[in-house]
């Protein structure tokens, strides 16, 4: 049954339906409503025998999840931005140990400068942590992906992070359907761990592995993610059959059949992109969109198949690799190796700057007129940047760049002289 509820609420109720045993949570904007919702449900007794642990840091959150999962419990946590970084060591530990933890990342920019709004720099920073990364386009998909995530994680013994845009999705209220308990129970068998701390059958988990075997253990992690490439679409298909909705999978294409230009992106910006594409198609512009859902593992073959017919590929991303350029672009370009296409990277929406239809139309117009550079920062205020560069050249002690720029745009009071 559809209800008009907040995205975070939908995720909380869906996670609850997955019957977690241990939920550990540390608050960070913009994930707070998810863990608050789950905390209230546990406290009211509705999720018994689930335990909700209020931890003292994100590092503790992931550590509690590690202990819980190793002891045979279905474990869940959620974080964003700085919190994800703070648990970084534990992320690698969880994936290295092969623990099927599921975590929501409410995508938010990483500081400095401190910024609470949406972009993908947090999850992107952990793309090599060994976690599977799935990016939701809508709140409904975010909810559905959690159900699929537990299934995927427990089958392969690989942790999964479900990424959803902070504020844009988490705090949006819209018509959502929480998967029914009976359906989730049928879809998610009880957690049967591959390894478990059990006094009746003691094992040592977490031993040191030397040069003799490290490569093989790490290769197995790679192998499991390649397995995931196969299972992700299969699980999505099973989900569709069970719940009547297309959610998840590796990627999906929108109006790409005869597209000259295809834009590839992840997350909530896809909704705005699709509206833009519809407008442009009405005007006769042959443009399409590919929405990438699985970023890790990266579906090389599927991406190549989806994009190979276009003359021009634009990868729109909400994070970037300092000193290089695009992050997603790098993997996309690997997938497209050898194809004669024009390729562009557009870095957009950093730190919560809105990606608008107007800006997207302008980019696509520039692309069509061959005015689009290979790397563009969307809506960059060049004059603002130039003024700061001039300040730096003029004064050795030019002050904190962020404050200077904020003063320049009037967000901070001018310094009295």
């Amino acid at each position: 049954m559809r209800r008009q509820i907040e995205g975070a609420r939908g995720v909380a109720e869906t996670v609850a339906a997955c019957r977690p045993h241990v939920i550990c949570a540390y608050p960070i904007t913009p994930q707070t409503h998810i863990v608050e919702g789950l905390g209230a449900m546990v406290k009211a007794g509705g999720l018994a025998p689930c335990e909700f642990v209020n931890v003292e840091s994100e590092f503790a959150a992931m550590s509690v999840a590690i202990g819980a999962s190793a002891a045979g419990a279905r474990a869940y946590t959620a974080t964003a931005s700085q919190g994800l970084l703070f648990m970084c060591e534990a992320l690698y530990n969880a994936s290295g140990l092969g623990l099927p933890i599921v975590m929501t990342v409410a995508n938010r920019a990483i500081g400095a400068p401190i910024n609470i709004w949406n972009d993908h720099s947090d999850s992107m920073s952990q793309r090599d942590s060994g976690w599977i990364q799935l990016y939701a386009e809508t709140n409904q998909e975010a909810m559905d992906l959690h159900v699929q995530a537990f299934r995927l994680a427990e089958e392969l013994s690989v942790p999964v992070m479900v990424c959803m845009d902070g504020f844009v999705l988490t705090h949006a209220v819209e018509p959502l359907e929480v998967p029914a308990q009976a359906g989730v129970d049928a879809f998610l068998p009880p957690f049967a761990p591959r390894q478990v701390l059990d006094p009746d059958d003691p094992v040592t988990i977490g031993a040191m592995v030397g040069p003799e075997a490290f490569t093989e253990v790490r290769y197995l992690a790679f192998h499991r993610q390649m397995e995931a490439l196969r299972r992700i679409p299969e699980i999505a298909a099973e989900f569709a059959a069970a719940f009547g909705r297309d959610s998840g999978g590796l990627l999906h294409s929108y109006r790409c059949d005869d597209a000259e230009t295809i834009v590839l992106a992840m997350g909530s910006v896809l909704g705005t992109l699709k509206d833009t594409v519809d407008e442009l198609r009405d005007e006769g512009v042959a443009v399409g969109v590919v929405g990438l859902t699985s970023f890790r593992p990266f579906p090389m073959a599927a991406v190549r198949e989806a994009l190979k017919g276009a003359e021009r590929v634009i990868v729109l991303e909400r994070a970037f690799a300092v000193g290089v350029g695009g992050i997603v672009s790098a993997d996309v370009h690997t997938a497209l190796a050898g194809l004669a296409q024009r390729r562009h990277t557009v870095i957009a929406g950093l730190g919560g700057r809105a990606v608008t239809r107007a800006s997207l139309r302008a980019v696509l117009a520039d692309a069509g007129a061959n005015r689009l550079e290979s790397l563009r920062f969307l809506d960059l205020d060049v004059a603002l940047v130039d003024r700061e560069l001039a300040r730096v050249r003029a004064h050795p002690r030019s002050g904190p760049a962020a404050e200077n720029i904020l003063r320049d745009i009037g967000a901070v009071a001018a310094r009295p002289h």
């Binding site: 504020f167 705090h171 209220v173 819209e174 705005t272 809105a354 608008t356 239809r357």
Partner: protein, 196 residues
């Protein structure tokens, strides 16, 4: 698609207002998307919330830059923030105030937009009388219903009853009805009055 932008300050229920409007629209079988734009939690800071209503699925996620309607919960924002940016020529404005547009110092708006769609209602006062707290959001939403006709008062009342516990809900409903009547009366006056 009908796009509404609500302006106010933290603590005035701006985000709840957008949410309730979306629930009312949903209850009438429409698609609705409500979302806030705010900084860290802080009472008194300017807050903006958005609500899109359509008869089909809403995919776009950008902030509302060309609203069809503006609701201003706090008149002290009028001269501090450019609230009216992007308002469509046929747009509606509803301001929480006992004074009119001229007295509020935004009389020039009447020449840019349609006079009969620029309305005020003393929402805080009405809220205080019925609810006992200066939270004007439901009162303004009721005025919005009267003003735009996008969502019915009945649907709004249902949304209010879903959201608040019984006693508080009924107080809000009473306040909503008074506001709806007030704004409807104001609209009738403007329709019969000579043009300024």
């Amino acid at each position: 698609m009908f796009q509404t932008r609500i302006h106010g300050r933290g603590g005035q229920g701006v985000v709840t207002a957008a949410e309730m409007l979306s629930v009312a629209a949903f209850d009438e079988g429409l698609h609705a998307q409500a979302f806030p734009s705010f900084g860290s939690e802080r009472m008194g800071a300017p807050v903006v919330a958005f609500c899109r209503i359509d008869d089909r699925e809403i995919r776009v996620r950008e902030p509302i830059v060309e609203p069809d309607a503006l609701i201003v919960q706090d008149a002290t924002l009028l001269h501090q923030v450019d609230l009216f940016a992007g308002l469509r020529p046929d747009g509606y404005i509803l301001i929480n105030s006992a004074r009119d547009f001229g007295e509020l110092g935004v009389g020039e708006l009447t020449s840019r937009f349609r006079r009969e769609r620029l309305l005020t209602v003393p929402a805080t006062e009405i809220a205080m009388r019925h609810i006992g707290r200066p939270i004007p959001n439901t009162v303004l939403l009721a005025g919005f219903c009267a003003m735009s006709g996008v969502v019915s008062l009945t649907a709004l009342e249902a949304a209010v009853r879903e959201r608040f516990p019984a006693e508080l809900a009924e107080a809000n409903v009473a306040a909503a009805r008074e506001s709806h009547a007030w704004v409807s009366a104001e609209m009738r006056e403007l329709a019969h009055a000579p043009s300024d």
